[in-house]
Subunit: 279 residues, 2 copies
């Protein structure tokens, strides 16, 4: 816990959830971790350390409970922040969409399904439901401290946009997300399988948007296998465009990728080779 205020709030959050779980007859697990220390020792930002700690905790709970499904409480306002954030990062088509109601997650070799059953209800709809049912709740004080970017969207960017335009942006953004997601799923369904060595002729026969998509996914799958999950670099537009230069037979047969590894072309196949050991 990286500052005192959050510490006190966290203690109250914890007792609130413990009592609620008891009342409902559910199990309860809790953990505390020194995020500053984790961040320092792993050379991570506080946000990334927080995310890692949460993920480790979820994976541990799932293992202990033999659970295969993890329910997360993201709601429609979280979703709008995610969509807008992804859009402003310009993170290509796939990164553009928001969170999904159902997705899969692999952490430390363990597969979990992630469900977000509250994703279609806004913060205000959820509060109103709780009030109608005489159920008290806690606002998560960590929102402001653990994720400063999300906080800026919530408290500055989105209010400025809505005030300037004189309307709410959530409905159109959620609808757009749905359209893009269905288009994404359909385009993904058209992609051929992706073996470790990727046939260049097949790539060259794909229309440009599918070719980019195929290379993006292939790099995102292969790099963690080569370098380890925690060391794989982020792959985006730039790396995909660099990779595409290898598709022509007249270009050099090797290019550098982030993480000191190489992408090579040999006998009509694309493959990755690991960083050389230091001499």
């Amino acid at each position: 816990l990286h500052h005192g205020l959050r510490g006190a709030a966290a203690t109250r959050d914890q007792s609130f959830v413990r009592r609620l779980a008891q009342k409902l007859g559910f199990g309860f697990r809790t953990d505390r971790i020194d995020l500053s220390q984790l961040a320092q020792s792993r050379k991570l930002s506080l946000e990334t350390a927080g995310r890692l700690a949460r993920h480790n905790f979820f994976a541990d709970c799932a293992r202990a409970e033999r659970a295969s499904i993890l329910l997360l409480a993201h709601h429609a306002d979280d979703q709008v922040e995610t969509i807008l954030h992804n859009f402003l990062r310009g993170s290509g088509r796939r990164g553009l969409g928001g969170m999904r109601e159902k997705s899969a997650w692999t952490h430390q070799g363990r597969k979990l399904e992630i469900w977000r059953p509250l994703l279609n209800w806004s913060r205000e709809e959820l509060r109103s439901y709780l009030r109608q049912n005489n159920q008290s709740w806690r606002e998560d004080a960590s929102n402001s401290s653990l994720d400063p970017i999300r906080n800026r969207f919530r408290h500055r960017i989105i209010p400025t946009i809505e005030k300037s335009l004189g309307r709410q942006i959530s409905a159109p953004l959620l609808r757009l997300d749905q359209i893009l997601r269905e288009e994404d799923d359909w385009m993904d369904s058209l992609l051929p399988p992706r073996p470790a060595e990727l046939p260049i002729q097949e790539l060259n026969l794909l229309p440009l948007p599918l070719q980019r998509r195929q290379l993006l996914y292939w790099l995102q799958e292969q790099l963690p296998r080569l370098l380890g999950e925690n060391k794989a670099p982020t792959i985006g537009w730039h790396e995909v465009e660099t990779a595409r230069t290898l598709l022509s037979r007249t270009s050099p047969a090797k290019i550098n990728l982030p993480g000191h590894c190489h992408l090579r072309r040999r006998q009509g196949l694309l493959f990755l080779s690991p960083p050389k050991a230091a001499p």
Copy 2:
């Protein structure tokens, strides 16, 4: 001209452009119009009246000069505003993209090509180019008065986002626009032809994203033919989803569309029927 300040600035803009055209040996055409009056008589907002007046002027010039290409001076910052605005309207995939370097435009039965040769340069790059070439310029005072929405993006929304995130958003948004546009063009290339009566079986064989796209374009093409260009309603997600209900044989064979016309299903075809004359 709807207020005095703009009037004085407009006079100076006009003489600046006239002198520049003379110096470069280009023709020069000018027109003045009372926008408040146009807006009142046509029951339009000032912005819409301004757009209509500009379009009429461009079309008149093109006719008088026998020109088939119209050059517009939109630059990369205009493009970023357009992309962000379209995104926040959630206007579906097609509406999401920004302006194109080359497009076609039909106004009062006259076809014009629209080129935007400055679209890849930012406002600051253009100013810097002009400074290097000792060429003075005028800032368009009408930006703030004629298009209040664009103005809010320029002066409030985009600065707030960039300050909150601590970075500029133009590069990622322009790149994302390019990716989306290429995907759009490719998806459009997969659509079958669209006759006035649309075969339902063909629609039902299309994957959902293409089916929506096909219906959207078809409605956008057919409604102006039925109702006249100025009276055709805006077609979006909601109308497309409504139209899709007709694709099942068990649904009613007629639905209402905006503009008091009807979409009907008969003998495996979709077609539009005009509003009935008032009884």
